[in-house]
């Protein structure tokens, strides 16, 4: 069956079961996202992929495409809202790009450049989030967590381990690991897990390979996140 919908005025074909975001990607149209990943079912928490359909805001990662839909995405209004969502993510955590090992490979940072975010706008929360360096191969820096739950999902659904989970709620929500001690070293996490290389920001970092590629020569230093996503499918 499938059909066609209008994406920012241009026709985009879709197959049955495809979401707006999937169909748009397949047609070479980029929609910003953080918690969505091509290998996982939609999660719908970051809300960066919001678009307007018939005047209503929806999450394009989760809403199935329908024939004749009119979707607005790359508009000043929607991009303004996306920028504000990014600002929210920046102020609720502790993000210091210049000293972060993930700089240049970080999707949060890359999207901020993509959407011309030039200030944090809101007051910073400066939360107290201790790091966990207990594991021999991996460092966890919770300061940068954006709660996309990709590590939670990868560990649970791919690795079959359930190493990560979220606890508490609201602004106090935070990541925990599967050990009474709260230490990653006391879980069965391995650096070869799918969860080890899924983090879109800089929470899960491999030890002993930091800065192997200099900042300035990394993925999103060389090309914008929309270009990388469309050309390499990442």
């Amino acid at each position: 069956m499938g059909g066609t919908f209008l994406f920012d005025g241009q026709p985009v074909p879709f197959e049955d079961g495809q979401t707006i975001l999937q169909a748009a990607r397949a047609a070479g149209r980029y929609i910003p996202h953080l918690c969505w990943h091509p290998d996982f079912p939609p999660h719908g928490s970051c809300k960066l992929c919001i678009v307007k359909v018939g005047g209503r805001h929806v999450s394009s990662c989760a809403l199935p495409a329908r024939d004749g839909m009119e979707v607005e995405s790359n508009t000043p209004e929607i991009n303004g809202e996306r920028r504000a969502l990014l600002q929210m993510l920046f102020v609720e955590g502790n993000h210091f790009c210049p000293s972060c090992e993930k700089s240049g490979n970080c999707q949060l940072q890359a999207l901020a450049y993509e959407l011309d975010m030039s200030s944090a706008r809101f007051a910073h929360f400066f939360p107290d989030r201790p790091v966990d360096a207990s594991h021999p191969d991996v460092l966890l820096d919770f300061n940068r967590c954006i709660f996309c739950e990709l590590c939670v999902r990868a560990s649970r659904d791919v690795d079959g381990k359930g190493v990560f989970a979220l606890t508490d709620r609201g602004i106090h929500k935070h990541l925990v690991v599967n050990a009474e001690s709260g230490r990653l070293a006391d879980t069965d996490f391995a650096v070869t897990d799918r969860a080890a290389d899924i983090c879109p920001v800089g929470v899960i970092l491999r030890k002993r390979v930091g800065f192997a590629v200099p900042i300035g020569e990394r993925k999103y230093d060389r090309a914008s996140i929309s270009t990388v996503a469309m050309e390499k499918g990442e």
């Binding site: 809202e81 969502l85 102020v91 007051a123 929360f125 190493v163 979220l166 606890t167 709620r169 609201g170």
Partner: protein
């Protein structure tokens, strides 16, 4: 094995090692130990074969579960604006002084902890508290003194005066539902006589819409569930009445439980469900014994269980699940997650619960009042039911009225009643503002009192809070903003961060440091919350701010110190650490006193 682990293991066994019972297991373990020690969580995870991280995630989600020790007497003050207007804050300070404890802390000897909690549903007889989860009403200074003495003496809750725990129904106006006697089983007999299809048709004719707020047509929901593939259908009663200012479901569960349970059974007759679940908010756990007794009587009378009223193939029974302090669980998909023993995070919709609900099975989720109303339809017919109210809002509506009026309580009106009519009935002498529908509802100013309670004009899940000329609409809105920030599940970015930011802006204004730019930021956050939130909690969280900014803007503007910008950062306060470290407190060590030097 340690004691905590043994207790936890017993709770798991009572629930047949069902992972979906995790929340109930945690509640019962905490009941026995007082909190949830780390070892107990590990043991529960092991026995349920769940990752420990998931158990920890659930334990951390619900306000009434504690992973750190709390006082032997855990006292929570209901913090709705109505409780505050009745003096709850001063009473809490008094109790804290008597017990030698600060809010949010445990007293040195571990005897007590005192804190605030979201509205406990006692707006008609507040200020109200919860002591170890049990509701205490009508607090005043004398009662606070007696509670302090009982806590000091270590008197077990069971030996406290029964009067403390008295909860009145306060039914002030009776209509079709509250005014009629009800014989258990009579509605069921009438519906069964019509056959399953005939009964659903009668529901359709009634035009009954959900009383929980959204107003979806009940017969459509039931029909969709009946027609959904899957044999194991489920009927869920949403008794998670968490909307601040609402308490009519409390009264229905206390005085009309048979109608509510029979409504669930009527839903089962229409949909073919065999399993029923009643999700009771933790604040109403004092009703648990009563509700279980009603279920037992009905089972004995053949109104629940196998072959209901002798009809072969009509098997249906009900379990009660207890919530643990999470407003978001009133959202039907969050409620389903909670019933499955998970964090109460709203699901992505579609699919909707009618096709993929509890454990993926077709599920009807109805509000307490909606279910009670179905008994009227069964007994009198859909046409008779639709004869009252308005064409789009048939039947009657229960209102929970509290605040600045002479007679707080529950009032039943046909839909279409004007707000001024209600205000007159409840003895409101100088009403200036009415908050209809709770924190997420609509703020009504006096020039709008001619408007009507109906889905097509002013919709409401039941709350009706009255504010007179002494009250400040800004403080009302600020109270609700704090509520939403506390209750946000934190799943989506706009609600998790937006409600916390909004709280910061409202507090900045309240502390006299507001500027015009803050109002612009507030309006920008309102828009983001409305547009981008994942569920109704986030999208309705800015409602009281949007409404009061529109209708009572001077209440905001008189708090502004600067017309353009004033930083939230307080430089002088930031010097406090340095002052402490250097032991200085002279004028030269204070920015704001430097001129005097």
């Amino acid at each position: 094995m340690h004691d905590a682990e043994r207790v936890a293991a017993q709770a798991v066994e009572r629930h047949r090692r069902e992972p979906s019972q995790l929340l109930q297991v945690l509640v019962e373990t905490q009941d026995a130990i007082g909190y949830l020690p780390a070892a107990a969580l590990t043991r529960i995870a092991g026995l349920l074969e769940l990752p420990r991280s998931r158990v920890e995630g659930v334990a951390g989600f619900y306000s009434f579960l504690h992973t750190e020790p709390v006082g032997r007497f855990r006292i929570l003050f209901s913090d709705n604006i109505i409780d505050r207007m009745l003096g709850s804050r001063a009473l809490m300070e008094r109790l804290c002084r008597r017990l030698g404890v600060s809010p949010g802390q445990v007293s040195p000897g571990g005897e007590a902890s005192v804190d605030i909690t979201s509205c406990t549903g006692m707006g008609d007889q507040g200020p109200a508290i919860l002591v170890n989860g049990v509701a205490v009403t009508r607090l005043d200074e004398a009662r606070v003194e007696r509670i302090a003495a009982l806590v000091h003496a270590g008197t077990p809750l069971a030996a406290w005066p029964a009067e403390f725990f008295r909860v009145d129904d306060n039914i002030r106006r009776r209509g079709a539902l509250l005014g009629a006697d009800f014989v258990p089983g009579s509605a069921l007999q009438a519906a069964m006589k019509r056959g399953r299809n005939g009964w659903l048709e009668e529901m359709r004719v009634s035009g009954l819409r959900g009383r929980g707020g959204a107003g979806f047509t009940t017969a459509v929901k039931w029909g969709a569930c009946r027609d959904a593939p899957g044999a194991d259908k489920v009927v869920v009663c949403n008794a998670d009445e968490g909307e601040p200012g609402t308490f009519k479901d409390r009264v229905l569960l206390a005085s009309q439980a048979d109608r509510v349970i029979e409504g669930m059974t009527l839903a089962a007759w229409a949909t073919g469900a065999r399993q029923g679940l009643l999700y009771l908010r933790g604040e109403y756990r004092y009703l648990l014994k009563h509700l279980r007794a009603v279920l037992a009587v009905r089972r004995a009378a053949g109104l629940l269980g196998a072959r209901i009223l002798g009809e072969s193939g009509f098997d249906f029974d009900i379990d009660i699940h207890l919530g643990a302090g999470a407003y978001v669980c009133g959202e039907e998909t969050a409620l389903l997650e909670s019933l499955e023993g998970k964090r109460g995070t709203p699901r992505i919709r579609p699919p909707f619960p009618v096709t993929h609900g509890y454990l993926g099975r077709p599920t009807v989720v109805n509000n307490v009042e909606t279910l009670a109303k179905t008994t009227l339809i069964a007994l009198q017919g859909g046409a008779a039911f639709a004869a009252t109210g308005t064409p789009q809002s048939t039947g009657t509506k229960l209102l929970s009225i509290s605040g600045d009026c002479a007679y707080s309580g529950v009032y039943e009106y046909p839909f279409g009643v004007t707000i001024e009519h209600v205000l007159e009935d409840c003895g409101a002498h100088d009403p200036q503002v009415v908050q209809v529908g709770g924190a997420s509802g609509v703020t009504i100013a006096s020039h709008e009192f001619h408007r009507r309670i109906a889905f097509e004009d002013v919709p409401t899940a039941g709350a009706f809070m009255v504010f007179d000329g002494r009250r400040d609409p800004f403080e009302m809105a600020r109270n609700f903003v704090h509520f939403f920030a506390h209750e946000s599940c934190g799943f989506c970015t706009p609600c998790r961060v937006g409600t916390a930011l909004l709280k910061g802006y409202m507090d900045k204004l309240a502390s006299g440091k507001g500027a015009k730019m803050d109002l612009a930021d507030i309006e920008w956050l309102d828009r983001l919350l409305k547009n981008a939130s994942h569920c109704g909690l986030g999208s309705s969280a800015p409602n009281p701010v949007i409404d009061t900014l529109l209708k009572f803007r001077p209440a905001y503007e008189r708090r502004l110190v600067s017309l353009d910008f004033k930083p939230a950062f307080d430089l002088d306060a930031a010097l406090e650490t340095a002052r402490r470290m250097t032991g200085r407190d002279d004028p030269a060590a204070h920015l704001d006193r430097r001129e005097e030097v």
